[in-house]
């Protein structure tokens, strides 16, 4: 039982949960959030792969990748949320 196994399993579980949410959720915000969970799961996987038993130092490359992933994800989230807001306004207009 090392942290990499524990968190690896947790990461995959989070990814799976996120996937369920992304596929099943109808609420737009919730779908975005579920996708974010998936990305956290993917981050876990990479970090676990980078982890080395102390006193080894972890592989820095996946760390960089995860940071990139986080930034990419926040960009995508921002666009998706902007679309949600816009669509909401348009639908509200259409209803009126």
């Amino acid at each position: 039982m090392t942290p990499d196994m524990i968190y690896g399993a947790a990461g995959i579980a989070v990814f799976g949960i996120g996937l369920v949410g992304a596929l099943c959720a109808q609420d737009r915000l919730r779908r975005v959030l579920a996708l974010k969970l998936c990305s956290v799961g993917a981050g876990f996987l990479l970090l676990v792969g980078a982890w080395r038993e102390p006193p080894g130092t972890p592989d820095p490359v996946p760390h960089a990748l995860v940071i990139t992933g986080i930034v990419v994800m926040v960009s995508a989230t921002a666009v998706a949320l902007a679309l949600i807001r816009r669509l909401h306004s348009l639908e509200a207009e259409d209803e009126r």
Partner: protein
Amino acid sequence: MSFVALAAPIALPLLLALCLTAPQARALIWRMMPFAPLPALSLALLADPPTGAQADWLVLGLHLGLDEVSRLFVIFTALLWCAAGASARHWLRADARATSFGVMFLMAQAGNMGLLLAQDVAGFYACFALMSFASYGLVLHSRDNAAQGAARLYIGFVVVGELALFAGLVLAATQAGSLLLIDLRGAVLSDMAVGLLMLGFGVKLGIMPLHFWLPPAHGAAPVPASAVLSGAMIKAGLFGMMAILPLGAVAYSDHGTVLMAAGMVTLFAALLIGVQHTNPKAVLGFSSVSQMGIVALGLGAGLMVPAAWGAILPVLVYVAAHHALAKGALFLGTGAFAAQTGHAGRLGVTLALLLPALVLAGVPASSGGLGKEALKAALANASPIWLPWLVVALTLSGMATTLLMARYIALLWLCPPKAPAQIAPEALLLPFLAVAGGALALPLLWPVLAQELAAPIAQAAPGGIWPLAAGVGLAGAVALYAHARRIGPALFVAHLTAPFRAFGARADSLLAAKRRAARRLGHAVPKAVSQTATDWRLGQTAIAGLIAIIVLIEMAPTLPAQPLPTQTLPDPMPHSSIHLPQDQTLFPDF
């Protein structure tokens, strides 16, 4: 072989005829009518030819006997008489002149049997005459104008024929110096004698120009009588020639030429004349004439080239048997047809009639087809000058017969023959079917019956279909033409295309309906599927499903090979160990 056995075939009918005059016995005798030829039949079947017996005490010394040829004649003649007798019993049940018919019928039968069995000139001639004159009564039976005319014509020809025959026999007997037919066959006869004999027998055969009596007579006689007239009695002419003329011994090329030419003419002229008649039985009569033309061809060839006679003889016997059965069946069938009261019955009988008609026309491998082919083969030995013409003529005669038969069938429906009142529709069927069956089965039965005489038949080619097909086509064309003439060409074309149009329209509407249904379905199903997929968000499910399926597909083969390596030490990859600094190669131990 006892004389009694040989005489019984003649005696029994005569006896029955005698009894028929007694009113008390009439019912019984009529019932026995079909069995009158039985002695002849049993004799022919049981006897071992050649056999003979003589009664010198009778006439000029009566010789009765049976050789291989006459045995075969007796068999089919007797069969036909049987059937005709059975048929006559019903046909004449309510007829006022039944007794006279019965007497004549039996007497003709006796004559017919007698001439086949007789082996001396006098006996032969007597029986021949008995048969011919008794038949007069049969022809005259209905006493109406047509019958009167036909009977007049008939008797005229019979008389001439008998005269000629008589003269010829006399001359022949003189020149042969014997009264025995077998001696006549071996003797050198004068041209005159042969010519007279030919004339005499030619009348019976109905070879042109001696045929005038035949169709009217066959048309006028009651059905059972026509059957025997056409099936059995005209064969007497053939038998006579075979029995008396020195065929195979002496060449009579002039006579042969005449006979052949007459046969050739007969073959086609009968057709041309026949198609113009409207009485189906008269048409059958012409068909008989035409068929006898074929026989005449064979005889003529035999006369011309004696060497070929050995091959021709068995074929002619066969052709005679074939014609007797087929034509007898057709006549009896005409009666059966006339007796039918319902449409279905008529249709059934017509279909059954098609069989003997086709056999007669020479369907390949049927008795007709085989006979024709065998004859062609046999004639190959005869005159090389005539041969091609003979072959063409025989071939075309198939076509012609087909045409006649088509005409006959058409006339059956257009001018149906009349049957006596109060006749049971099914009564005449049995004899008809029996004879028709005989005609059909002839190729199978013949080898059993004829033994070595059957060889040419067994070796004959089955014959070609195309004369028949051409005949059918021509007949169809003529029918169509007639039909078109009757209803007008425009209407005719409309009628012709009507079934296609109707079929087309129905198919179109069916197709259109199916197409509409398919289109509805084609609109509805994708719409529903698409709606469901959208509503249920199946695309999302597909994402997960696909990943799962691919993982399963790909992992399935690897799983058994790779048990879960949960607790195993990971295998250090080569390239990783190369790059790892030494102080970091610490792997966790569990």
